[in-house]
């Protein structure tokens, strides 16, 4: 490597590092200060917690709110349920649209695509009435149903693209092998879709985990609140208590970041798999 190349490599890293710092600084700032005592938060916000300024008082309050465990369980149930049914129903529909010829094929594909463009939030009031009629208010089922409906269009869209990449020969080999259409889907296609399913799972997970709106409207009861709603209400309650505010924010951020770091490889692979030659 000659001097010029070294210099340009250095410049590239400098730019990327600077942007990475910009991306992370606010998050780090919140997490860092959540471990400090009140005076230090205001006095020296840019310093790391030191033994003299370290404090967990905010977390005491956050976790003293006994419901925090149930917030997490609810969020995990809702997100998990949504991902499961979105992937199952979405891939089934994508398979039918990609593989079978029938009269309304194109119509259905366009019909499903509308949902990618329009947020269900615009239909909130009708949705609440519907959920109430179904007697599903304050159930996690209601949230899962709405989220599945919200995520199916994108899931079908992405999965159809991937479905096209599975060689036709493979499905025909399976037909020659005597598999029923159902078994071809569940035993050949579904396992092969795994990277795409991972992508869809991440795309589904982020907005569902982070959503405030539908938990607020459809399942606001105590014991049914998700972590985002719980934290939001907690913030409202302790808004002037920055120890609690920062700890609550950190509590909401950290699990998402951990999950993200674990799954980022799969996510990026899923996102970029179109480019794998």
């Amino acid at each position: 490597m000659n001097l010029r190349q070294q210099a340009s490599a250095f410049a590239v890293h400098a730019v990327l590092l600077a942007y990475t710092a910009l991306a992370l600084a606010p998050i780090i700032l919140v997490i860092m200060n959540s471990f400090k005592e009140r005076k230090a938060i205001f006095g020296a916000p840019l310093q790391l917690p030191s033994p003299s300024t370290f404090s967990l008082i905010g977390y005491d309050k956050v976790f003293g709110d006994s419901a925090i465990a149930s917030y997490y369980i609810n969020s995990i149930t809702v997100t998990g349920g949504t991902i499961f049914f979105t992937l199952l129903f979405g891939s089934m529909a994508a398979w039918a649209l990609a593989e079978y010829k029938f009269r309304f094929n194109t119509f259905l594909a366009i019909f499903l695509a509308i949902g990618i463009m329009v947020p269900i939030r615009l239909g909130s009031v009708a949705l609440i009435q519907l959920i109430a009629q179904l007697n599903l208010i304050n159930t996690l089922t209601a949230l899962i149903l709405v989220y599945v409906a919200q995520n199916i269009p994108l899931a079908v869209f992405i999965l159809s693209e991937f479905m096209g990449q599975i060689p036709k020969d493979l499905r025909e080999a399976a037909r020659c092998d005597g598999l029923s259409e159902y078994n071809i889907f569940f035993h050949i296609i579904l396992p092969l879709l795994r990277p795409a399913l991972a992508t869809v799972a991440v795309f589904t997970m982020i907005p569902v985990w982070n959503d405030l709106w539908f938990p607020l409207l459809l399942a606001p009861a105590r014991g049914k609140q998700t972590i985002t709603l719980g934290i939001q209400q907690f913030l409202g309650q302790y808004i002037t208590d920055w120890n609690s505010v920062l700890s609550a924010l950190a509590t909401a951020i950290i699990p998402v970041l951990i999950l993200y770091v674990i799954f980022s490889r799969q996510l990026i692979r899923g996102l970029t798999s179109g480019a794998v030659k």
Partner: protein, 359 residues
């Protein structure tokens, strides 16, 4: 009995006819190769036999049973795909056993059949590997193994060698030929490569534009092509064609003063426009001989013991002659060509053969 009989088969996609009135019989235990340029309908025909494509009209029966409306699995066929179509998430053993499991074959029998196939194909040490850990040739053998374990009445091969490199292709070709002998299987094999067709087939079916152009034993097609298409398709390098006109009895005028005297079949009449065909291997550099053409060498391709000379004729056409050894002629040098009179084919204006000259 595992004869495949196809009668009057037609297939159309909307107004586009891709198979037109196909009649074909694949005798029990025979190796039939469907050959033709891409888009000729050979793969569609194969897939129709497999049941992967619905047909528009006609009949397909396998082993005396009409299968027109049966799904692939019930036709007692096995197919080997060009891309091998191995299930990437299953190991070699499971790839071969997969169909049997769904047919609820007893475990012991699955084991027995798979190990038998693995033994024949020398795959025993690879059974636990995933397809992506195998070489192209090994994948090919697994795909064949998957077909064998099903004990089908008919094996269908869809261009199985086209994804292999040249050396491996020749090896595998020989393997398939041996396998055919060993299993005494009925095989329908699709390829666009006439060499594969010639070397493997008991019977070749040459297809073009959704029609069967000619059916016959390999050498029959080589020596007695029914039309210019078959004549040009079978044999490598391809047959030379020279446009000519019959000016008087037993004489052809190729233009630019080139006149050839030879006995012509009675079907040809004075004044007919015809095409004269002769394979490169039947043309030599020689000043004597009954049928002579003169021209200038454009280029010599030397392959070793033999080679090919591209020669332009005075009428502007170019023909290829096979040479042996090193004839020591430079580019542009004038040469005399001798055509073997027994290997000349005369085609009428519609492209069909007037008659092969008597051998």
């Amino acid at each position: 009995m595992s004869e495949v009989k196809i009668e009057n088969l037609c297939k159309a996609y909307g107004p586009v006819e891709v198979l037109k009135n196909i009649d074909l019989t694949v005798e029990d235990g025979s190796f039939v190769v469907l050959v033709g340029p891409s888009g000729c309908g050979k793969s569609t025909l194969l897939r129709s036999i497999a049941g992967l494509e619905p047909i528009t009209a006609g009949n397909i029966s396998i082993g005396g049973r009409q299968v027109n409306d049966l799904p692939p699995a019930q036709r007692q066929i096995a197919m080997v795909f060009q891309s091998y179509a191995l299930y990437p998430h299953k190991n070699v053993y499971d790839n071969m056993a997969f169909g049997l499991k769904f047919a609820r074959t007893p475990k012991a029998e699955i084991d027995q059949r798979v190990s038998e196939a693995a033994r024949i194909l020398q795959l025993e040490h690879l059974l636990k590997r995933r397809p992506r850990e195998l070489s192209g040739g090994q994948r090919q053998r697994v795909a064949i193994g998957r077909a064998i374990v099903r004990k089908p009445q008919v094996f269908l091969f869809d261009e199985p060698l086209s994804n292999l490199d040249a050396a491996l292709r020749i090896n595998t070709r020989v393997e398939i030929a041996k396998l055919h002998k060993l299993l005494k299987a009925t095989i329908v094999y699709v390829t666009h490569d006439q060499v594969e067709a010639m070397t493997l087939a008991d019977k070749i079916v040459v297809m073009n534009n959704g029609r069967v152009e000619q059916t016959g034993k390999p050498l029959d097609l080589y020596y007695n092509p029914a039309n210019m298409f078959v004549a040009g398709f079978i044999g490598s390098p391809a047959m030379n064609f020279v446009a000519a006109k019959m000016t008087q009895k037993n004489q052809l005028d190729c233009g630019a003063g080139m006149k050839i005297n030879l006995p012509l079949p009675p079907a040809c009449k004075v004044g007919d426009k015809v095409t004269l065909g002769c394979r490169p291997e039947h043309i030599q550099f020689a000043a004597e001989g009954k049928i002579q053409l003169k021209g200038n060498v454009d280029i010599l391709e030397r392959l070793g013991e033999i080679g090919y000379a591209h020669v332009s004729l005075p009428n502007g056409q170019s023909i290829v002659a096979q040479i042996t050894g090193d004839p020591k002629v430079g580019n542009g040098a004038p040469v005399s060509l001798a055509l073997s009179p027994t290997h000349i084919h005369i085609f009428g204006e519609d492209g069909s053969v007037c008659s092969a000259a008597a051998r």
